[in-house]
Symmetry: C2
Subunit: 258 residues, 2 copies
């Protein structure tokens, strides 16, 4: 299994429009520090799954036939806005697996074009090529699933955004399932009040400690977290890192724990 973090930003991204903080200034000067909408590509053999579709240049990144499926965490615009253009294409339909959300986003259901929406149910496995996904309920302002993703050879990875903490059934599942590594929502630096909808670093550290995987990549990162990290380098445990756009996590990172 190979993961590419195509986008690791929160809805505002980095640099944030109009902001001159240290993180935004750095990202304007050096493109490597930019953060686009939170998206990951999961590859296993011929299977290629796009986790979320907030990148607006999907039609240029993924030629027809290059994706096995798109899997959505939820229907907020920063996670689906790339579908508004992609849907009008022609050719083979693209399966789009999504949580049960009767509203969807704008007119995506009504004018689905070449997208073929398929509704998932919590904890009900779905097989896509060489990968088996288990939808995991998360704590967010809209129906949201994280995904436990397992390759046929047993490698296990979990993708857990957008969320503030974890619902007890999801935490219980992951404690038993024991992914070698996961990507985790960490939108903000430590907050004085308990954050809603997204993890701050305090919540993210607590989840990482509870589940104790070999590796944790923090994603859905705001400019505020980036600015905080600039002042607090070295404040993360050695098995945790803030992901960056275009980062590739290769097979070597997925040694199974059990």
């Amino acid at each position: 299994m190979r993961i590419t973090f195509l986008g690791t930003g929160d809805a505002g991204g980095v640099p944030l429009y109009g902001c001159d903080c240290s993180a935004c200034t750095r990202a304007r000067a050096v493109a490597d520090f930019r953060r686009r909408p939170c998206t990951a590509l999961v590859e296993a053999g011929d299977t290629r799954i796009l986790l979320d579709a907030g990148l607006t240049d999907l039609t240029e990144r993924f030629p027809p036939g290059s994706l096995s499926a798109i899997v959505l965490t939820h229907f907020h615009p920063d996670h689906v806005q790339g579908l508004f253009h992609l849907r009008w294409g022609i050719g083979p339909s693209i399966p789009v697996f999504a949580p049960p959300d009767t509203e969807g986003c704008a007119d995506l259901y009504k004018n689905h074009g070449l997208l073929e929406f398929r509704r998932l149910s919590k904890f009900e496995l779905v097989t896509i090529g060489n990968l088996v996904l288990t939808p995991l309920p998360l704590n967010h302002s809209k129906a949201t699933f994280g995904y436990a993703i397992e390759e046929t050879d047993g490698q296990r990875f979990a993708y857990l955004t957008d969320t503030a903490g974890l619902p007890p059934p999801t935490e219980a599942f992951l404690k038993k399932w024991r992914p070698a590594s996961f990507a985790l929502d960490c939108s903000y630096p430590p907050q004085s009040d308990l954050p809603r909808n997204h993890n701050d670093l305090t919540l993210a550290l607590a989840i990482a400690e509870t589940l104790a995987p070999a590796r944790v990549w923090l994603t859905h990162v705001s400019h505020e977290l980036d600015a905080w990290m600039l002042k607090n380098i070295g404040n993360l445990p050695p098995h945790m890192a803030v992901a960056y756009d275009s980062q590739v996590v290769s097979d070597a990172g997925f040694v199974q724990q059990c």
Copy 2:
């Protein structure tokens, strides 16, 4: 008054994803033939109005303070999707004038961020800097306004998309108002059936003949119209042209007729 056609495409754009027609093949080979979401910038002195916001890179094109306002024709995603990112910025709010549409698009009203939505009424003038706009009802599948735009020096331009034909009150207004030039929806080549929601070339020619302006630029163009034009070069009257992305129409094009 200076108009820049930043985007002249229909919702699918050119090249259309998955299409190998002559127009899409040409646009893949030569970027000048690409068509992005239908958008225009109107400038008059210090006044800069963005007509529609479907371009997804607005945060990069328009630094804070560089736009007097955004004016929307309607809330379909290809006309507003650039706002999903722009809204999360910080700094001065951006006025966004729009037709009365209680639904809007996705969560734009709920989470408006730095956008300040202002509802327009048909035929009620609004002054933005050096420009006076009159909202004109159009025939589309969602509440849609075209705009009659007048500079303080009397130059007149109308922007008429998305529409199939013109509602009689709008046609009557424009006959009397007599814009020197206008941009007009022409999404399709001539169709055998009367098109819905968008003009085909037959409807566009009829509108141009009725209103008889000095210049007409066709916009909201599909790959089908481009492919048809490749086979039918010279089929447009000399005062009409298909606009292209980044085309600038300078003052010289706006000699008032009356």
